[in-house]
């Protein structure tokens, strides 16, 4: 079974803090994704990565950056957290083999910025 884990289920930070959200997948997937999910807006893609050290902007990259130094790990960074970044953050991964495109999600991190 595919397993995607996220470093924290709940996180509370203060405005202006630098925040790191970590995601690890154990299935040797090439592709990894970061989304945020807000009521009424659905899931929106922040950034994704096709390979180590590669990154592509999604639909809402402003205020975020990412890092992928190893294939299994994809980090989302909030350089200076703001209250409008309070949200549920979801990581996903997929591979280029077999049932391509199918993304498998982690349990999510609910981030509150005060």
């Amino acid at each position: 079974d595919v397993k995607v884990t996220q470093s924290s289920r709940y996180l509370v930070k203060r405005t202006g803090e630098k925040v790191f959200l970590e995601c690890v997948q154990d299935m040797d997937h090439e592709n990894m994704f970061w989304y945020r999910q807000d009521p009424g807006l659905g899931l929106r893609l922040i950034y994704f990565s096709y390979d180590v050290k590669m990154k592509e902007k999604g639909d809402i990259p402003e205020g975020y950056s990412v890092s992928r130094e190893k294939k299994e790990r994809f980090s989302l960074i909030l350089e200076s957290a703001s209250t409008n970044q309070t949200s549920m953050y979801l990581c996903a991964s997929s591979d280029d083999r077999g049932d391509a495109d199918t993304q498998y999600f982690g349990p999510g991190t609910r981030l509150t910025v005060l």
Binding site: V4, F33, G40, G42, D101, F105, G108
Partner: protein, 110 residues
């Protein structure tokens, strides 16, 4: 612009009362159509991938179908544990990006 529209937004069923959820997708260039289940406070759980019109997939009480312009998730004799939000998403040719609908919140009463 890619757009995935799900209906209804919310659906209440009695246990055993079968129904269908609808997902309209961007017709041209569809690469894959996906269904996920999401429980409150958790990440989406993968259910089905459909690639071409006429394709059907089943899992327990759920059956997903794909036509040339929409997909249906049929729920046969639902149970309270089927209560969740069901999400539909598409990928378009040349892109790995999933475009999600806003979901249908299903409640099954005992």
């Amino acid at each position: 612009e890619d757009q995935v529209t799900q209906s209804p937004e919310a659906l209440r069923l009695q246990e055993g009362e079968s129904s269908s959820l609808n997902c309209s997708y961007t017709v041209s260039g569809l690469r894959g159509l996906f269904w996920y289940r999401q429980d409150p406070g958790k990440g989406p759980e993968f259910l089905f991938t459909l690639y071409s019109a006429g394709e059907e997939k089943e899992k327990e009480r759920l059956k997903a179908t794909l036509t040339k312009k929409e997909s249906f998730l049929h729920i046969t004799a639902p149970k309270p544990e089927d209560s969740a939000t069901y999400l539909c998403a598409e990928t378009q040719g040349g892109s790995e990006k999933l475009v999600f609908g806003k979901g249908t919140k299903l409640t099954v009463n005992p």
